[in-house]
């Protein structure tokens, strides 16, 4: 299988000499095309740091990151921004939609900035809005939408550039359970239908159960990984069991 993202000996330290805090360490990771990878772990395990580094928003202290065997750490700021725009999609916990733009404009934003032909952009919006059930919301503005709808707009925006990876940072964090389920189904479907590679950070075992593979992070290191081999319900149970076994108690993990 084709490797989309690969990291070698990733390390991130915060602080200055004398008071160094290591957020993540020794992260060797291979993400294959069409994967749906979950990252779990207790607070302070380094989940968000890892996600930020993988998604090129932050830089590691040492180590290497390859996107389709291209080393992104050698890129300059501007290059990196454009790379990010064209190759990476984002779904954030707090949606990060622009209030000043309509749904369709929000979706069009990354392509418009890259000066893609407006006709092409429109076609893509058409296709994605159908997929995410947003056809009737296209002319509306974010303040007129529910949380679930907003997050679907964000997902559509993440997909519009046909990125090699979509990063989702606690995408269900601000949603009620019904909207969460809808969104996760969307992500799962997206993964199946468009063969989109997704990396999702989550606290929530239910959300994690939609993934195909889960990495557990503890104290900045990869603690364990489990693969999905049966139904989602069973996978969910295994995750819960594993979290219990990992120690620290269930309380801390939720």
């Amino acid at each position: 299988m084709e490797i989309v993202l690969e990291t070698k000996k990733l390390k991130k330290e915060y602080g200055t000499k004398g008071a160094i805090f290591t957020a993540i360490e020794d992260i060797d990771l291979k993400v294959y095309k069409g994967e749906f990878l979950g990252i779990m772990g207790p607070s302070g395990a380094g989940k968000t740091t890892l996600l930020n580094i993988l998604s090129t928003i932050d830089k590691p202290t040492s180590g290497e990151i390859y996107y389709e065997s291209k080393n992104i750490l050698n890129m300059k700021n501007r290059e990196l921004s454009i790379f990010r725009r064209n190759n990476i999609g984002f779904i954030f916990q707090d949606f990060n939609l622009l209030d000043s733009m309509s749904v369709e404009d929000n979706m069009a934003l990354p392509l418009a900035l890259s000066k893609v032909n407006p006709k092409e952009i429109k076609e893509k919006i058409e296709k994605l809005s159908k997929f995410f059930g947003l056809k009737d919301q296209l002319k509306k503005y974010p303040y007129q939408l529910s949380g679930g709808q907003k997050q679907r707009v964000a997902a559509a925006r993440a997909l519009i550039t046909s990125p090699s990876i979509v990063f989702a940072d606690e995408p269900t964090g601000a949603l009620d359970s019904k909207s969460s389920q809808e969104l996760l189904q969307c992500l799962s479907q997206m993964n199946e239908e468009f063969n989109t590679t997704i990396i999702m950070v989550t606290h929530d075992a239910f959300a994690a159960s939609y993934c195909k593979r889960i990495l557990f992070l503890k104290d900045g290191k990869i603690h364990a990984r489990i693969d999905k081999d049966s139904t989602r319900k069973e996978f969910f149970k295994r995750i819960i069991d594993f979290l219990g076994a990992m120690g620290g108690g269930v309380d801390e993990l939720f």
Partner: protein, 621 residues
């Protein structure tokens, strides 16, 4: 630690953010002081002929300054409050009550105000001599200016600013007391709604402005005073709706035109403008009106100066002119001139009729044609061709020295015949030597009219070195009789002292103050919104927008808010100046271009500063 100490510490820490505020305040204090002290300057008080102008402009300047300060303080204090809301929220969380927080922040403002007052006064005093010397120079006053500190002016400045600072303090205090903790914490997350577009108002705004222009241009039909008042009101109203609705219409059109919107950073800037318009259209209107006022008034004063230079040709076309048909007298004059060290460049002789009832003189068409071509008037052929008069038509030449004529000319009855005034113009003709309007009639008509009035002979002579005609003038006075209306280049210079210089200088200075006012109002208005936009740019960065693209979109967005009122203001003022040029019978293209150019340049500097500061604010996290 007491609360005043916190205020002082805050003040020290924030001194950089206060840069422009301080500058604007210091500048306004210094200017205000100078305008007031001008009134008390002993040397100027002695120069009687200008003290009325000084008094007037000093008063005008003070009133304008107060109006500016009111706007300025409202916008700038909003800006500072927005900038510090989170900090205030933190204090509130720590359990300091609103009254104490309000006191801390309001005293910070007070401290700032006192500081700018002190610095402004010092600078004002320091530069007052320079200011007075420049004024004396342009006013051609031959007086010595001493360094002078006016206690009265200092006192007046302190009193005015104390009142203003007191109000500012109170406003800052009340603003904070009225806010809730929850508002403070959420102030930046406030969800905004897209304003609705009112198509009716949008279209009507254009009609209103059109009607205003029509009335202004046809001021003669409505009467000058009425036309002026209606125009001003309609323009303000129309501009208000123009920015409120018409502008939204245009922006909405572009938002729906995806081929334009989905092209690079347009999508960011246009969407932002659409959202901001609701908060901004009042400011845009105010700025457009200010721009209009600025350019029109500067245009007027520079036109005045330009007019004086141009008019010199109309008022003094000859070096020497007198009325006489006495051959003996004429011979004597010629002899004196011949014996002087001047060379004759042109000798003009013309007959005219004097009609004392109407206070006009009358010449025939041939004479008019001769003089116009002899004097080498610009576009002489064009002017002559306009004067093809029929039997009952006359041409009207304004009395030299008339600056503006706002009264429409009616028909005129000469002898027992009624004549229609076909053309009304202002050209060099007899000059001030014959201080009456001149009517040009058909040659045959002239012969008929001759019987009703006394005919006189005009003699005009152009010499080289017209500046040195003092001695010549005194010699000529001796040989010519009282009725000869002797007028020379020297007489013109002595009777015409130059207050246009003062008006020009003070006008230009006020213009400077106005530009500064306009610029700083728009600066603070735009920047006080930048805090709300911070979040947007963070999102954009995460999505992979490059810094360059962010800068580009900011430039476009801010540029729009600067350019729109400028363009509207320029169009308004061009109409105003074209009316003015019609009234003054003088082509004002040159001074108009200069005043627009100067304004745009200074305004551009404000744009650069605003843009830089905006980028600064949205890029720091």
């Amino acid at each position: 630690m007491n609360f005043f100490k916190i205020a002082i510490i805050n003040f020290k820490r924030n001194i950089r953010t206060y840069g422009l505020y301080l500058m604007a305040m210091v500048f306004s204090v210094a200017t205000y002081y100078n305008f007031v002290s001008m009134r008390y300057n002993p040397q100027f008080l002695e120069a009687k002929e200008i003290s009325a102008y000084i008094e007037g402009s000093s008063m005008t300047a003070s009133i304008l300054m107060i109006i500016f300060l009111m706007f300025f303080i409202v916008y700038s204090s909003n800006f500072f409050l927005n900038q510090r809301k989170r900090e205030i929220g933190v204090y509130a969380f720590m359990g300091i009550d609103n009254y104490k927080i309000a006191f801390i922040f309001a005293s910070e403002g007070l401290l700032l105000g006192i500081m700018s007052l002190v610095i402004g006064l010092m600078l004002g005093i320091l530069f007052s001599k320079l200011f007075m010397m420049m004024l004396a120079k342009v006013a051609l006053l031959n007086i010595r200016i001493d360094f002078f500190v006016s206690k009265k002016a200092i006192l007046e400045t302190i009193i005015l600013y104390s009142i203003i600072l007191g109000i500012t303090f109170l406003k800052g205090y009340l603003d904070i007391i009225r806010t809730n903790l929850i508002d403070l914490m959420n102030s930046l997350k406030r969800e905004e709604e897209l304003p609705k577009v009112n198509y009716f108002k949008g279209i009507v705004s254009i009609i209103i402005i059109g009607v205003a222009y029509y009335i202004a241009i046809n001021y003669e039909r409505f009467g000058f005073g009425t036309a002026l008042m209606i125009t001003v009101l309609l323009i303000i109203w129309g501009t208000y709706w123009l920015f409120g609705s018409f502008f939204s219409m245009i922006i909405r059109y572009y938002i729906n035109k995806k081929s334009f919107l989905y092209n690079g950073t347009n999508i960011i800037s246009i969407s932002n403008i659409a959202f901001r318009i609701k908060d901004n259209y009042r400011t845009l209107t105010a700025v457009a009106v200010l721009v209009t006022t600025c350019i029109t008034s500067f245009g007027t004063v520079s036109s005045l100066k330009y007019y004086v230079d141009e008019n010199h040709k109309i008022e003094v076309p000859y070096t020497v002119s007198y009325i006489s048909d006495n051959q003996e007298e004429i011979a004597k004059v010629d002899e004196i001139i011949e014996n002087s060290n001047h060379k004759v460049k042109l000798k003009e002789k013309a007959n005219f009729l004097y009609a004392p009832d109407h206070e006009v003189v009358i010449v025939n068409l041939s004479t008019f044609r001769n003089i116009i071509s002899d004097l080498k008037v610009k576009n002489s052929e064009n002017i002559i061709s306009k004067f093809n008069l029929s039997k009952d038509e006359v041409g009207y030449i304004e009395r030299p020295g008339v600056m503006m004529s706002i009264i429409a000319k009616d028909d005129i009855v000469l002898g027992d015949k009624k004549y229609n005034i076909k053309i009304d113009t202002k050209v060099p003709f007899f000059g001030r030597g014959v201080p009456f309007p001149c009517l040009v009639v058909d040659d045959d008509e002239y012969e008929i009219l001759k019987s009703n009035f006394s005919e006189k002979q005009f003699n005009g002579i152009i010499l080289d070195n017209p500046e040195n005609t003092k001695d010549l003038t005194f010699k000529l006075v001796k040989v010519l009789s009282e009725e000869s209306w002797l007028y020379t280049y020297f007489v013109a210079g002595a009777t015409f002292y130059d207050f246009t210089g003062i008006v020009y200088f003070l006008g230009a200075f006020l213009f400077l103050v106005f530009v500064f006012a306009t610029g700083s109002i728009i600066y603070f208005k735009i920047l006080s919104e930048s805090f709300g936009d911070k979040n947007k740019y963070e999102i954009l960065k995460k999505l992979g927008t490059t810094d360059l693209e962010i800068h580009e979109s900011i430039s476009k967005q801010i540029g729009m808010f600067f350019i729109l009122p400028l363009v509207v203001g320029i169009i308004h003022s061009m109409v105003a100046i074209s009316v003015l040029s019609d009234i003054m019978k003088c082509n004002l293209i040159k001074p108009t271009i200069v005043s627009i150019g100067v304004f745009a340049l200074m305004y551009g500097i404000f744009y650069v500063f605003t843009r830089r500061k905006y980028i600064d604010i949205v890029s720091t996290t």
